[in-house]
């Protein structure tokens, strides 16, 4: 299509500026994380990387004392992975099943149960945080992976997504399957699930990122630092930055920040197409 040379030029300029706007903070954090703390303390944030990347990153990955706690970044990364994967897997399975029941079955409690699920959209976790904490504490699930993951799954977003998708599946498929003698469970496993694979992948990616990036809930219910996710680890490190009268350990804190960011960003960028497809489908 026709574009004047000026328009093309301004387009590229604007987009480059936009990309820089997004990337600058992260780049500065990364560059600053590769210097010693004395250097940062004296010279402020850096644009250009220094030579201490291996030192800093190695230290926080393997040395618990580097993060002022008893846990290494590696262990925290592991916890984040468990949270991200567990949350995504749990979400996908439960929402798929619930959406299947709602869309494909006529049963007595269908309508009230649908509205119960819908109601979870009205009271996000942040708002019911205190009683949620109490419930989990009473169940003895504080400082457990289960307690970390389960309460987060109790929301309707995934279910609505699959509900929408199932409604778009042609009825003829079900009719043909019935003629072929497939019962409801068979139909689900043999036909619907394979059909949903791209959707499942898309939702999985989104939920993995959501799970990995959880903040408030893990903050509250994990007091045992063996269970810290890397996002929580960052907060703890920053809290203790100015303690002890020593030069603040900025580079290591930045390194932790970068490490908390890389995995979800990589996932989102590598699986871009699927991710965007999943995200945009939720609009319709």
């Amino acid at each position: 299509m026709y574009q004047s040379k000026w328009r093309i030029f301004t387009n590229h300029t604007i987009l480059i500026l936009g990309a820089l706007f997004m990337i600058m903070p992260v780049w500065i954090a990364f560059a600053s994380s590769t210097h010693t703390r004395e250097f940062i303390f004296q010279n402020g944030l850096q644009f250009w990387p220094g030579g201490h990347m291996i030192d800093n990153y190695g230290a926080i990955l393997f040395d618990p004392s580097a993060t002022k706690g008893r846990v290494t970044a590696l262990e925290m990364l592991f916890n984040s992975m468990v949270l991200g994967l567990g949350f995504a897997i749990g979400k996908v399975i439960i929402s798929m099943m619930a959406a299947y029941a709602i869309v494909y079955f006529r049963f007595k409690l269908a309508v009230p149960l649908f509205w119960v699920i819908f109601s979870t959209l009205l009271l996000p976790l942040e708002v019911r945080i205190v009683p949620s904490y109490e419930v989990v504490a009473n169940l003895g699930l504080l400082n457990t992976y289960t307690g970390l993951i389960l309460p987060l799954i109790a929301s309707a977003t995934g279910t609505f997504f699959f509900r929408q998708f199932y409604r778009s599946v042609p009825d003829e498929l079900l009719e043909a399957a019935r003629l072929d003698g497939a019962g409801p469970i068979r139909f689900f496993i043999d036909i619907l699930v394979p059909l949903s694979v791209t959707m499942i992948a898309a939702i999985f990616i989104i939920m993995f990122v959501v799970g990995w990036n959880q903040y408030l809930w893990p903050l509250l219910m994990t007091t045992d630092d063996q269970l810290y996710t890397i996002v929580i680890g960052i907060k703890q490190v920053y809290n203790s930055l100015y303690e002890g009268g020593q030069i603040p350990q900025f580079p290591k804190a930045f390194a932790l920040t970068i490490m908390a960011t890389i995995p979800p960003v990589l996932v989102v960028v590598i699986f871009q197409r699927m991710f965007i497809k999943g995200l945009v489908e939720t609009e319709k």
């Binding site: 299509m1 574009q3 301004t10 387009n11 590229h12 987009l15 990309a19 997004m22 990337i23 500065i28 402020g44 399975i93 099943m97 619930a98 299947y100 029941a101 494909y104 079955f105 049963f107 409690l109 269908a110 149960l113 119960v116 979870t120 959209l121 009271l123 942040e126 708002v127 019911r128 205190v130 009683p131 904490y133 419930v135 169940l139 389960l150 309460p151 799954i153 109790a154 279910t159 079900l174 409801p184 469970i185 990036n213 959880q214 408030l216 509250l220 996002v231 960052i234 907060k235 930045f254 920040t257 908390a260 979800p264 960003v265 996932v267 989102v268 960028v269 995200l279 945009v280 609009e283």
Partner: protein, 292 residues
């Protein structure tokens, strides 16, 4: 509703049970607790509680700090929504037009979704750090007396900037997708009818993007209301003096840190009412009616 459905007794219950179970334990029960506690007042020692009907609500609604927080939340949310929508729309239009490097630009602009709110808050904190933050230095060197630790407006500026920065990616993705949904031939016809690209945007592109824009408005308002907790907690922590505490943040501060269960539960209930209104609005006017 599907035209064809199974009639079956046990299977649907089986399938829906896990979600219902989890919802009951981890949502319905805490939600009911929150509502119940909003009607209670604990004594000074937390030993007994008294049923006080709507007194907690009265206290909350008449408290200055809640009003201030509510006003801040509204202004904050509207500004974050409008600014990040404007920026991302601006970027998306250009990204839709370029041919060379289209995929690269898209990649460079969409990854912000993967950033955790606390990480965004941290990066903002870093950039505005009085000791070494580049933006802190930059603003002060231009003659503004920038002090977000003590000045409420400067602090608000910081959290708004951070929240906008993080949200641009999501809006960008949706706008780009919306733009790509406009038929190319319609855009070409517009090229023949109208020489100015700017005018074409406002008369043709923007009206056709209206559904996406409304949708994003709701999404962004919701984001600003709730998902910015992480940003605030790691940057300004609501200071100075609660000036940058959104309503959600205040629930946390009062309830968890201040141990005012009754008050924070009442705030939760009020928030729940506000969300319900937003959600109903979203489903009614933007998506087709939610019906079984």
């Amino acid at each position: 509703m599907k035209r064809v459905q199974f009639e079956h007794s046990a299977v649907p219950y089986l399938f829906i049970a896990p979600q219902i179970l989890i919802i009951s334990i981890f949502f319905l029960w805490p939600a009911a607790q929150a509502v119940y506690q909003s009607f209670l007042l604990e004594d000074a020692f937390g030993m007994s509680s008294q049923f006080v009907w709507f007194r907690n609500f009265e206290d909350v609604l008449s408290s200055a700090s809640w009003s201030r927080s509510a006003i801040f939340t509204v202004i904050f949310s509207v500004l974050v929504a409008v600014i990040s929508i404007a920026i991302s729309l601006f970027l998306a239009v250009r990204a839709d037009e370029v041919i060379r490097g289209a995929k690269s630009y898209r990649t460079l602009l969409m990854w912000g979704y993967a950033i955790a709110p606390p990480v965004a808050g941290l990066l903002g904190n870093m950039m505005f750090n009085p000791l070494m933050g580049d933006l802190y230095k930059a603003f002060n060197s231009f003659g503004f007396e920038f002090n977000h630790i003590q000045n409420a407006n400067d602090a608000a500026f910081v959290v708004i900037l951070i929240a906008v920065w993080k949200q641009v990616s999501v809006n960008f993705i949706f706008f780009l997708s919306g733009l790509q949904g406009i038929p190319k031939s319609v855009q070409e016809a517009a090229t023949l009818d109208c020489k100015s690209a700017e005018r074409r945007f406002w008369t043709i592109t923007f009206p056709l993007l209206a559904p996406t824009t409304f949708f994003l408005l709701v999404i962004n308002l919701t984001y600003a209301f709730f998902e910015t907790f992480g940003i605030i907690d790691v940057s300004t922590k609501g200071s100075p003096g609660g000036a940058t505490a959104t309503l959600v943040y205040k629930v946390y501060v009062d309830g968890f840190i201040g141990a005012d269960l009754g008050g924070s539960s009442a705030q939760s209930v009020l928030l729940m009412i506000m969300v319900s209104v937003l959600t109903v609005f979203q489903f009614r006017f933007i998506e087709r009616k939610v019906h079984y």
